[in-house]
Amino acid sequence: MGLAGQKRRNKIGADPNNTAWAKSKDNYGHRLLAKSGWQPGQFLGAENANHSDHYTAANASHIRVVLREDNAGLGMQRGKSNAETFGLSTLSGIFGRLNGKSEAEVQKQSDLQRDLELQTYQSRKWGTLNFVYGGLLVGDKMEEKKKLEQLQAEANGNKRKAEDEAPAVEAASSKKRKHTSEAESASSSNSDESEAEPVPVPVKEKKQKKKSKKEAATENTEEASERVSKKERKEKRKKDGKSGDSDEKALAKQEKRARKEERRKRKEEKRLRKEAKGKTSSQPSRDQSSDSSSDEDERSSTAPTPNPQPAAMSFGGTRHAVRQRYIQQKRQAGMNPQAMAEILMLKATA
């Protein structure tokens, strides 16, 4: 706790461990034990015991316990808790290298450390928000979580195939590529993570998402088209599953659908423009909510459990803070994408 901490003054006696007794060899007990053939340094118990390899230090001398004054958790050490703020963490890389760790590993570690620090800083300063999963918006329809997971599994399987097969139909803009690759990486890291420890990695992911969020915010219109392309891809995937024999039919169908899609796209763009005109302020919030919901769903699929780390928790134990969190949660529920979409729909038709 440093200088600001509570001062604790203890008077320690002259011989707190009573070594005077421990060392003396002429006390009654020592004498009696020696009489039975025990020598200092030996274990008690049967001679040549069958189980003697299970003996520990506790069989030789009494158990030492550290007195705990506070409720500090296991592994918490006084003064050591915030080594990183003293700049010691920067040394860990050097030590790591000296200890013969590979460069990549050292880099990975320091990245992790940096991300964790950022996360703790962020959560301490502003607190973290909790988001409620509300499904995935595809086109203008909500997808159920289950379906999405299925799709993702499918997508991992034959995404590449789909991309190879239909390069002509897909109006391949570089941005789209970027998005898909990003999605892919996200989903792949996703599946990695559901097996691995849920704790440190989401930080990175969140960052990624933040990046994509920014992108989405700056290029609003792009988003719609992207979404459409997503749908296209999905449809292709679906078809992929079925197709293979009736190629021609499929091609015709595809063309038809593409045309349809284009029409819809145009419509949507129109609508979006209208919306933007009508209520500019509603736009970002919608983006955010849909974005954050996808964010949330990623999180919930990767780490469906609360990780009880202090950084991720937004309430500090006092009732006041708890209340504040619930208010926030409620507000968040108000921003539920489903509800928002409905509201916007109404506006769009009106």
């Binding site: 604790r8 203890n10 008077k11 320690i12 006696g13 002259a14 707190p16 461990n17 009573n18 005077a20 007794w21 421990a22 006390n27 009654y28 007990g29 020592h30 009696l32 034990l33 009489k35 053939g37 025990w38 030996q42 274990f43 008690l44 118990g45 049967a46 001679e47 015991a49 069958n50 189980h51 506790a58 069989n59 030789a60 001398s61 009494h62 158990i63 316990v65 550290v66 007195l67 705990r68 004054e69 500090a72 958790g73 296991l74 592994g75 918490m76 808790s81 609360p306 990780n307 009880p308 780390q309 202090p310 950084a311 928790m313 309430f315 134990g317 009732r319 708890v322 209340r323 619930y326």
Partner: protein, 764 residues
């Protein structure tokens, strides 16, 4: 001087048949009539009704699971010939679904083949209720006039399991199936299956070194490694050499059975898999600043975000648990009001909780507030009782801060205390496993994975390594173990601990200078008490206050009688002042007890205790203990006397009597006038703030040494150095003292006493 203590005891060295008759531990020695070899339990051969049952056709140690099945199927009860009830058959059906049942044949084969068997089965495998019954059908103790014993570490478990098994066998509890716990014997002449505490079997063994009443002894829950179980194991290892017909089964719940197997000279091992589901383990990313707070937050978060399933939270002690329960309930009320959370019920669970409240943990989780609402949940906040010994269904989430309250003993400063310390890896796995009893679960550990690997020891230390062994050594001596150094224990204690125990017993005159049990020691071992307390009680007639000391001993052996709730500290202290005695806390406690027994208080004792900030439960328990001890006193023919209350020596006598037992727990004020220093061990201590004693007493006697950042002595009474020199001259032999303040003070006192004596002589 030392001799004077023996004068009043009516103890003769030759066996006293009359006393033995009255001793329930020796009961079996008297009902055997002329035939010394036949330790009959009422049966001669076959059963009491004289009707022959299917079991008569069985060959002892030669039956199979099929035979037993036939016998179990009735139609008449194989043990008493009665018609079997419908309930019996419905229970039988569920019994046959238990995991142990599938391996009955395998069990029987191993059991018949070897004398010692190690059996491993998770809690819930049915081992505690089923294995003893499997044994009954094969061992047929009724034909031998013997019994099957099954030990349990806890009284409550022995009682409840016996009840359950009596039901399963369709017999009346106390007839064929019974239990025996300290102060309560629920067995009869027909009993063939006896559940008992491990301590009880040890007490029986003191008077019957070969355990002749039993044909099979089952040590259940051996993984808990209680002191009594450890000693029983060492003892049985020797007994089996003398009694080749005795069979031993060691039952354990953990897979640490290898150690057991090795200890029992590679006895065969049978493992029955429990019914478990996978449990996901989660660690925190960083160490927690406050584990209690983190635990509460985790519980709330689980309630808010996780699907249906009950939560088990492990904390360390009564106070912490009650506090956490209160906080969780408060916060969930908010959560329900503001965020429409599901209902949540929070139940505490700890050893000193009255049984009916302990039973509440088995209540089902609350229903949702409305149809289709968020599901309800129950949270059980428990000490480590819930770790292995209790099976609570429906637990899906476990929150484990990684601590428990553990007893530790430091033989150097002679302090035994309960301290919050990290659990072991094995414990942590056990705790996590609780989440997977009914379906796949999750365990949240409030520490990092690194801490789990680095800071936790592999196995918990058994009780024998954590306790003061004075009473154990006394028991061992009574059990006829002469060579304590080479007694084959699974975990031999630290040499220093044994040294201290021997030394203490020597000062208490329970052991003579050669290490042999004295008659006082033998008498003291009949009391289920710490040797110091037993000696104090035995010598109390010398001070004409045995009635008072009886109450005092009872009060010392129960939990704290004074209640001091955080909300009403001042009022509680005021109430305590009503009972305060200027000479110290012991006498204050005695005042409380006398007031409690007064007719005014007994009108409505519960209310009276509540009004006076006293623990009704503790006082009731003290009353009970006093009654039991009184019975032993009467049996041992120790006089029950009192000094007339008007006598001005009334209180002095009591304080002197205290010195007779606690002369090794004395401290003297040091020269600075603030701290105290313990005699001989020279530890610097402070008076505990709760004491009613002023700071003015030069010498004090204490009951308890409390280890915190400051070392406190609690429950203190002022004494005079003259008494100490007079009552315990061996301990207060001035030559054995280190040079210092205490020695000079004692020297001065001794000189003064000598002078006074000389003067008295001169006058005469």
């Amino acid at each position: 001087m030392a001799e004077s203590r023996f004068k009043r005891q009516k103890v003769s060295d030759e066996p006293n048949p009359a006393a033995d008759k009255a001793n329930p531990y020796l009961a079996h020695m008297h009902n055997d009539g002329d035939d010394a070899g036949d330790y009959s339990n009422g049966y001669s051969n076959g059963n009491a009704n004289g009707a022959s049952t299917i079991l008569d056709t069985f060959k002892r140690h030669g039956t199979s699971a099929m035979d037993a099945k036939k016998a179990e199927d009735g139609p008449s009860n194989p043990f008493n010939g009665n018609q079997l009830s419908e309930r019996y058959f419905s229970i039988l059906k569920t019994r046959r679904d238990l995991p142990v049942h599938a391996q009955r044949q395998e069990f029987l084969e191993l059991y018949q083949k070897s004398q010692i068997l190690v059996f491993v089965g998770e809690t819930g495998s049915g081992k505690t209720t089923q294995i003893p019954q499997f044994v009954l059908y094969d061992d047929l103790p009724q034909q031998q006039g013997k019994m099957v014993a099954c030990t349990q570490p806890r009284r409550v478990a022995a009682m409840s399991v016996a009840q359950r098994v009596a039901q399963e066998m369709d017999v009346t509890l106390g007839e064929e199936v019974g239990y025996s716990i300290r102060f309560e014997d629920m067995t009869g002449p027909k009993t063939i299956m006896k559940y008992m505490t491990d301590g009880m079997l040890l007490r029986e063994a003191m008077n019957d070194h070969d355990m002749k009443r039993y044909s099979t002894i089952i040590l259940d829950e051996a993984h808990e490694r209680t002191l009594a179980t450890d000693i029983l194991m060492g003892l049985l290892k020797e007994v089996v050499k003398r009694r080749p017909d005795l069979k031993i089964i060691i039952m354990s719940a953990t897979l640490d059975a290898q150690k057991f197997q090795k200890y029992f000279l590679n006895a065969p091992l049978l493992a029955v898999p429990g019914r478990t589901h996978p449990v996901e383990i989660f660690y925190t990313a960083e160490p927690e600043r406050d584990y209690v707070e983190a635990a509460i937050r985790t519980v709330l978060q689980i309630h808010a975000t996780e699907p249906e399933g009950d939560i088990l939270l492990f904390l360390t002690g009564e106070e912490e648990i009650e506090d956490a329960c209160r906080k969780i309930s408060l916060e969930t009320d908010d959560m329900i009001r503001e965020a429409d959370a599901g209902p949540l019920k929070c139940y505490p669970l700890y050893g000193s909780l009255p049984p009916h409240q302990q039973q509440k943990i088995f209540d089902p989780a609350p229903k949702p507030f409305k149809q289709g609402g968020r599901p309800g949940r129950k949270v059980i906040v428990s000490t480590n009782i819930a770790e292995t010994s209790l099976t609570i269904d429906g637990i899906v989430y476990v929150v484990d801060p990684g601590f428990s309250k553990q007893k530790v003993y430091n033989p150097r400063i002679r302090v035994e205390s309960l301290l919050v310390s990290p659990i072991s890896k094995a414990s942590a796995q056990q705790r996590a496993g609780r989440a997977g009893r009914t379906r796949p679960g999750k365990a949240f550990r409030l520490y990092t994975e690194g801490a789990f690997k680095k800071e936790l020891i592999d196995q918990s230390y058994p009780e024998i390594l954590r306790s003061n062994l004075a009473s154990t050594v006394l028991e061992l001596k009574k059990l006829g173990i002469d060579d304590l150094v080479h007694f084959d224990l699974m975990d031999p204690p630290a040499p220093e601990t044994l040294m201290r125990a021997l030394e203490e017993l020597n000062y208490l005159a329970c052991l003579d200078d050669e290490g042999e049990l004295t008659s006082l020691g033998s008498l003291a071992s009949n009391f289920p008490l710490d040797p110091a307390l037993a000696v104090m009680l035995i010598s109390s007639p010398e001070f004409y206050c045995s009635n008072e000391m009886l109450s005092m001993t009872a009060l010392i052996s129960v939990p704290q009688v004074f209640v001091r709730p955080a909300a009403a500290r001042k009022r509680a202290d005021e109430m305590k002042d009503l009972f305060a005695h200027e000479d110290g806390d012991h006498l204050t406690m005695l005042n409380v007890y006398h007031a409690f027994k007064s007719p005014a208080a007994q009108e409505n004792p519960k209310q009276w205790c509540h009004d006076h900030f006293l623990s009704f439960r503790a006082l009731q328990q003290a009353d009970n203990v006093r009654m039991q001890l009184k019975r032993i006193m009467e049996r041992e023919e120790i006089e029950l006397v009192s000094t007339p209350f008007e006598d001005k020596k009334y209180y002095e006598n009591i304080r002197r009597a205290l010195c007779a037992g606690f002369f090794m727990q004395v401290a003297k004020k040091d020269t600075s006038g603030k701290n105290y220093q313990t005699v001989k061990d020279n530890q610097s201590v402070l008076l505990h703030p709760s004491t009613v004693l002023g700071q003015d007493s030069e010498w004090v006697l204490y009951n308890e040494f409390v280890l915190t950042s400051k070392n406190y002595i609690r429950t203190v009474t002022a004494v005079k150095p003259e008494w100490l020199l007079d009552i315990a001259p061996m301990y207060y032999d001035l030559d054995s003292f280190q040079k210092g303040d205490i020695k000079t003070a004692l020297q001065r006192t001794a000189d003064r006493m000598k002078r006074r004596e000389a003067m008295a002589k001169g006058k005469r």
